[in-house]
Subunit: 294 residues, 2 copies
Amino acid sequence: MIGVDWGTSSFRAFRLGGDGGILDRRASSRGILHIEPGGFADALNAEIGGWLADGESRVLLCGMVGSRQGWQEAPYLPCPAGAPDLAGALADVAFAGARLKLVPGLSDADAAGIPEVMRGEETQLIGALPAIGRDGVACLPGSHCKWARIADGRIAGYTTHLTGEAYAALRGHTILGRMMRDGPTELAAFDQGAARSADAGGLLHHLFGVRTLGLFGRLAEIEAASYLSGLLIGHEVRAALAGSPDAEIHLIGAPKLCALYARAVGAAGCRAIRQDADAAARGLALIGGLAQWN
Amino acid sequence: MIGVDWGTSSFRAFRLGGDGGILDRRASSRGILHIEPGGFADALNAEIGGWLADGESRVLLCGMVGSRQGWQEAPYLPCPAGAPDLAGALADVAFAGARLKLVPGLSDADAAGIPEVMRGEETQLIGALPAIGRDGVACLPGSHCKWARIADGRIAGYTTHLTGEAYAALRGHTILGRMMRDGPTELAAFDQGAARSADAGGLLHHLFGVRTLGLFGRLAEIEAASYLSGLLIGHEVRAALAGSPDAEIHLIGAPKLCALYARAVGAAGCRAIRQDADAAARGLALIGGLAQWN
């Protein structure tokens, strides 16, 4: 079968063997934001038409392609949910070239009853379950970072943090960005920001310190963006871990960002375990293997 | 004498009587960002030349006009500082039309040693001291909101929160702003956001809730900006009050913004006391009255 992780700004496809192994892969920037209404079938053919011509007849999609802005809306499934629950709730999509199904997103609510939504991360979590085990905590860094609780081999619940988007807005559109120069992540400055997140005063106070440390020559322009990143990720990690008895956090996602989260998790006194970046492919294979394709 | 509060984006001048009363006032958008280098004397003459022609010969300036980006840099004075300390540290500026002096800004450091800076707010605080008394806590809302501790009739120390600028960046440059419509503040939504700030999960998690409450129809487009404002101000107020034994907070600044802060202070269990908006004029009169003008 073919598995596709089709998000807002990127497209990733995997040709999967009967054992779930990755036989071939494609990636492009053809995210759903770049597809005209009605243009999804053509875009899919342009990406994986060769594999379909080769005889593949089953395609499983996950990600924002199943949202209202995507090809077709697949209603959210509530937590807790495991691979069989997701496989039993796939949405069929009309497509001339193959049988095509969508993985639904997952909804949840936090302790205060505020709703949560994810699309795509549920599939990565399912793919990481064999490594995580039946119980644990996983973090999927990104613009809207997810922290999920795994219990009894299912996704029991999760919370979202707007960290990545807040970082971009604060860096690009406040006075803080004026004293920053682009460059690779300065790890010492990142760690300094992550450590600062443990201090009293709150995030909004700590943000002003990015400016004053620069004004007084204690933070160089080449370090300031890394310090801001450490500050925000540090605040997220400490809030997510508050009251959690778990000493191990499984990180799933892009290696560079996961490496930074691992530092912040370590600074907060927990151990980070990094999962490989193909969790989406494995999740698509697992869910697809449980689905009814007739 | 003439007192001038000359900030980044606005210019306010007061003609002051011998008793410190306001005889006349002017306000314009001629902030320091709009003044060409070398153009400060002409700008000042354009604003208050009439009063100088009338015989006024002493002008006291406060605000960002005393920064490196202003007319002339006046070095920061460290906390604690009261009116006599500020009056003893005024910087003289060469000006053909009158004797001209700058109030220095105040520097401080928080418990972790991170530096703090203010320019202009020290003068408002001095102006509010007669109403606050010898000891208390004052909050000056704004882009960079200040919380100051008054002890023994002096400004003992303070912390800054980037709340106003963070609000503008998050509203204008994240997905949250896409579900907001302009309009007057919706007080019920503001209060809902301020109450949310007391929940577990941290600010970055609470921010994502602005989106999901909208997605699930629980927050209207006309309410969402007010909810975001309540969330941020609520987080600031709770962090600033943490561990403080003070039950009364004096608010100094623009009446509309102070009214919102008063709601958030009340929601956090403290009593807000609003000071009138002419604290800067009173502070300029008090400091100017203690200065050596010969």
